[in-house]
Subunit: 231 residues, 6 copies
């Protein structure tokens, strides 16, 4: 398999779309190879079924024109940073060899998300190990950035904000594909969950003088080659 | 005059070279038009004279291949953020129309530096005023970033770190042009001032996995268009 | 004069409406006595005149149902934290005796705003002085909070976020009263300045699970009497 | 059972009293329904026995006039954020349906405390799950705030500081009920553990200009409806 | 004059005692040479007179056993960071040649304090200038640390906390010497101003496991030679 | 066994040398008793064998003149903060009774390092437990500080920076003893891993005006007895 440029690790189907759907669409439009790996099925939920969730995911995948997508089927609601789960995810990194991993932020209200965040760090390290019994060749994903979820209404500074103005409709279409999660049975009064997702992208757009944007956090310093790359 | 891509505001001749000599050299190598405006002559100093300082500055200008350089001759050692100085600097911004201004960080041990930092903010705002008696047409420099000086040994996080590995020798040559300021009469024991300047660039290089680098701070969020621009 | 509950110090007419128009409207609806003091006329501007600006201000005052409003006519564009300006503002505090002062945040791109921020601190202290030749009786305004302007796209954490959902239309009507400043001659493409103002209120609403909100910063700790006051 | 307004999650009997005894007393005096759930017995300790600790707890409960109190008897000294413990605590949230949960801060020297902190987040999320085999109906506790323990002498900023001046004697009486933990066998030289607890409340009182107070941290922004609620 | 080890710069007589009276006493007890320079007379105040304030200052000086004390008689209530004031203070640094300067923190509610904070930085730099018309020989005070005042109830982290347990009574005696400022006409209800001063020292003592302590802030990193120097 | 003054907890052989080799050497030179406990063997690695790693460790121990060193042989690459591992490490603390523990920082790219960081906190607490079945007498290590590893290129502020200028060659000799880990098979182009280690120490030296230094972080405030201990 040809290596990915970008791999988003999502605890459940819909997390990648909600948090970085615009970055995914922008990266695809720039010719990057972009994948998503879900750790769990995300089910059960009040209005979902495994079949429905898979269909919604397929639609979002089509909308975003993803290069690659996979689901590890680790235990939903009970995800834990076990050694076994670490190995499974590390094998994904070895198989897809991404230049950049996008992982959930380490603070969240959903325990699957904090577990997923730990797993990303841990699996990234295991991915480079030689003399192991994991499948695939050793590979060190050179960059790991964090994205914000919607479960905790935190307000951190971003390390970097990506302009997604031309791709906001694509993002919102991918988000709305998850009808059973984000629309069905939800309040239709303003602000809806859909409003919240779009309006946060609007705010981040404002921070950089653009229409819509999405933030990422890096625990390390952000390096660039030229000031001409700044918006 | 054709607009500048980058304008460094330096309190004294040698501040631009010490703090962002590598960014200047890298930007020039990338074809950007780069200028430096000094606010004061920097003299008197223990080993300098106005003539000598001008000659050293000319040599550094040559080494860095600067597009444009000017000195406002505001009062050295007694620089203050007056309205008059603000107007003088705003006129420079109108004349050079830079896309990015690099200004001294707002915390420093040298009062000329903190005054210069305020002046950059203030003059940037005045630069865009219509219905004023300042020379030149209204212009809003779209980005203002801060660089660190050497007078206070602070350790802030950077917003962005620029790789200057291929240009470190150019930077150090420009720094050493200021013999009267940084070499003559200084201790020759390790670490010298010259060592300190090079070794800090080494550290910032380490933070992004490169040989040498220079940090910049932005009070606003850092926006980029593509993840492919990250090192 | 009966004391004010809340006094907003605005560098120019429109700053109070843009930054805390919702808090003003909410406080009025809660029966609080709310005033605004402008430090300067705000003119000249590209599309304004002194008469027009005064008329716009009067309309915004009417929309917000302000208890009290005054303009100190200090020098626009050249506001500085002089002792004389300090005394003028201190006399306003003595005359209006506000429980809470809302002042501009200390970091901004507009030098009038940073000067105004300093003046608020300084005048608050002078306001309590006995044995002075200032008019009015000594008075210590017990609380001073800071609001964010729109000139610098900073992203600080708030100390406290005020729900203004029921008052967003009032705020926007007050904002739009400043047609010469925020609408005339401005780009009509999305996002307009008006969009930016509304959408930021939307974001802060999201942070507390409401429709619209406005943030304030306190350098001191936030004290409350009962957890039942938290939203 | 009628829902609680406030539920304090304490790793051991005495943690609630030490950290938020004043908030508990103040909330009760304001008519709120307040509960405490301990995760472990807290025993063995050098001077305690299970019987003695229960008697001390009963006395503190009486002093604070708690609405509800329970002990989950999870393993003391070896508390871990297991799925089973998560389910047990989530069932408590479903049964008591608190508006606000007070949880231990996430940094501490006592591993039971950091485990308890994780459990609060995780159980809060599980509490809202439908289609689970947990007892009780799905319920999402709308607010979770953190309190500081005494094992690590950290100095974080508070999100909100509660005035407990009228209730300091009640707090101290509840604290002293734990004679086997905080008095017996402890140094009687100034400052004693009891001194430390009272004097920290004094400091936080100072931060808001009151006699005594207790701090809380929120990872999310603090929302309020009216500036009149600020002290 | 033999150089000082420590020089406290105080805006008014009583600031040094209130903020770092314990550090002064401890440093004297350790054999260090300690001075205080006041920038203004501190008068007028509601209950003070110049004569009374001088007498109170003399008593505090005696209690603290200061090596050196001087008052620059710059304008009280109207202190500003002028070049002339900068020169006056720089000459004090040249005359006393202190190893460590203690300066007021840069954020405060009292404009004299923020002006004094700027002046300390600026005068420290001027102190080292050659070829100037200031009195005395060039001297660079190697360390400048900041202390907290009592006008703003801020809660910053300290860079370093000094144990002053054995000297708390000396500190409080020096504080109480300023009867006209801190006792006369003040509320006698708990907590009094005197209580606040003592109790804050108690809190900082708690942070390092001691009885009483005082905090200092350094914008630079804190260097030490041996871990055995940590408490 | 006579108690240690300082105990470094290292996930693998070479972590102590890389991160705090200079502090170890300086502390030994000051007559302190210094130990290192490794949690795992560190093997397998691409170029190492258990025998080779032990030999390299012995050489580093000799170079640093360590008072005590031990390896717990917990599972390399799969270290987890289990209760069993916690007990093992707590018994080390009871046996060596260190005044200061140096633990890995809590954020890292290597999962063994974050697990080790948790274990240090947890074991420190267990070390003081009475009525347990752990070996040794209850002991509370009074101070725990954190050091930075090299796996994540973070840039935190230090709580305290130790001057290690006279000991830099000793540190680098101890580092180079781990030939199989840091030299063999590594790129020999500048900057090598060895360059990175030395140059970071150079940077921290710069922060305190010295040649070389190493940083430590304390979650609690840093207490000292005299300002004369500051560099």
């Amino acid at each position: 398999m040809e290596p990915l440029d970008l791999l988003v690790v999502a605890p459940h189907p819909d997390d990648a779309e909600i948090s970085v759907g615009g970055i995914i669409a922008a990266s695809r439009a720039q010719g990057m190879r972009v994948g998503v790996v879900e750790l769990t099925s995300g089910e059960p939920t009040p209005h979902g079924t495994p079949e429905l969730r898979r269909a919604e995911t397929a639609e979002a995948t089509r909308v975003l024109d993803l290069t690659w997508r996979q689901n590890l089927n680790l235990p939903n609601r009970s995800l834990q940073p076990t050694l076994e789960a670490r190995g499974r995810l590390a094998e994904v990194f070895r198989a897809t060899r991404p230049q950049i991993i996008l992982a959930p932020y380490w603070q969240d209200a959903h325990p699957d998300h904090t577990a997923a965040s730990s797993l990303c760090d841990d699996a990234r390290f295991w991915s480079k190990l030689s003399r192991s019994d994991m499948q695939g060749d050793p590979f060190w994903p050179p960059m790991l950035l964090h994205y914000f979820s919607i479960h905790l209404r935190i307000h951190p500074a971003a390390s970097i904000v990506l302009d997604v103005t031309p791709h906001i409709e694509t993002k919102m279409a991918a988000v709305k594909a998850y009808n059973s999660q984000l629309i069905q049975g939800r309040s239709t009064e303003h602000p809806t969950v859909i409003d919240d997702i779009r309006d946060r992208a609007r705010y981040w757009g404002w921070t950089i003088g653009k229409g819509y944007a999405e933030p990422l956090v890096n625990r390390e310093q952000i390096g660039i080659e030229s000031l001409s790359h700044l918006l």
